[in-house]
């Protein structure tokens, strides 16, 4: 056969004898090898969206199914984690958010707003370093509680930037918003988080008396 001279077609001669690896099988193997190690990450992310373990598991399962269907279109070498999070975010918005029926905190997104709000709460330098220490001493449950009580868009932006370490551009793609919106969500989210954590630290008596400040 003339074709066998072409080195790129090596192995084609075995056609019909079923020695070749099924391409679909190969895809499944590759998918498994690359996606399974990310399950914990996806689950932790899903918990920030669905906020209960059962829904989070369902969300990850749905994400995996959607991702498998689209895996052929995923470009190897690009950020698989970001790609999966985009699928998960879409799945969440399209099905879970509707199902949950929780009143969503609305979040207006104009960039100017946070610039106007910027730190009116500056206190003296001496107090601050004690504050860093107090924040460090908060129990994990307080941090989780604070994160789950800020608006969803803020929470996800903070999660993507601070936990996943995605670039703003990637977050914009994942959330389907302009980069400016990502920035404003991050600013507001982090400011709110900070305020909550400071409140918790005060309630727990971790912050030394705020007598003389500002």
């Amino acid at each position: 056969m003339l074709l066998l001279d072409d080195p790129t077609l090596e192995g084609v001669g075995a056609l019909g004898s079923r020695v070749m690896v099924d391409p679909e099988d190969e895809l499944a193997t590759r998918f498994e090898a690359e996606v399974i190690p990310l399950l914990d990450t996806l689950y932790a992310g899903a918990l920030r969206m669905a906020r209960n373990p059962d829904d989070a598991s369902d969300l990850v399962q749905e994400t995996v199914e959607r991702a498998f269907k689209g895996f052929k279109s995923f470009t190897p070498g690009t950020n698989l984690r970001a790609w999966l999070f985009r699928i998960m975010t879409n799945a969440y918005i399209n099905s879970y958010r509707k199902k949950q029926r929780q009143p969503q905190q609305s979040s207006a997104d104009d960039v100017e707003d946070w610039q106007m709000h910027k730190a009116a709460s500056h206190t003296s330098a001496g107090l601050r370093s004690a504050e860093a220490e107090a924040l460090d001493r908060l129990p994990d449950s307080d941090v989780t509680r604070a994160l789950s009580s800020i608006g969803e868009d803020y929470r996800l932006a903070v999660y993507y930037a601070d936990v996943e370490g995605f670039a703003y551009k990637e977050i914009a793609e994942i959330m389907g918003t302009p980069v400016g919106t990502v920035m404003s969500r991050l600013h507001r989210g982090r400011k709110q988080l900070r305020e909550l954590l400071e409140d918790y630290a005060t309630e727990r008596g971790l912050v030394p008396s705020q007598g003389e400040g500002s």
């Binding site: 099924d22 679909e24 099988d25 895809l27 499944a28 998918f31 498994e32 996606v35 399974i36 399950l39 914990d40 996806l42 689950y43 932790a44 992310g45 918990l47 920030r48 373990p53 598991s57 990850v60 399962q61 995996v64 199914e65 498998f68 610039q115 910027k118 730190a119 009116a120 500056h122 206190t123 003296s124 330098a125 601050r128 370093s129 504050e131 860093a132 924040l135 460090d136 908060l138 994990d140 941090v143 989780t144 994160l147 903070v158 999660y159 930037a161 601070d162 936990v163 670039a167 703003y168 920035m183 991050l186 600013h187 982090r190 988080l193 900070r194 954590l197 500002s214």
Partner: protein, 87 residues
């Protein structure tokens, strides 16, 4: 705002406004350097930044849940169906 008597209040303003972008390495090299320089000279902003670093670190640490075994098994089972259907 109270800048703690900093000699460069404009730098404090810049830093306050761009602190998160600085933290996430999203600024132009120029602006990044400017903020870095400001932080080196301004104790007030440095402490503010230290706090934001603590917050980021805490948020990062608290998100370490592991996928339940049942979910893991479901995912394996799902992938397996694509292997056997085309055997």
């Amino acid at each position: 705002m109270n800048t703690g008597g900093c000699a460069d209040p404009h730098g404090c303003e810049d830093t306050d406004q761009h602190l998160y972008e600085y933290q996430h390495h999203e600024l132009t090299p120029d602006l990044h350097r400017r903020i870095e320089e400001h932080l080196a000279t301004c104790a007030h902003c440095r402490e503010l930044y230290a706090e934001e670093e603590v917050i980021r670190q805490r948020v990062k640490e608290c998100a370490c849940e592991r996928a339940p075994e049942q979910l893991r098994a479901q995912v394996f089972a799902f992938i397996a169906t694509f292997r056997t259907t085309r055997g």
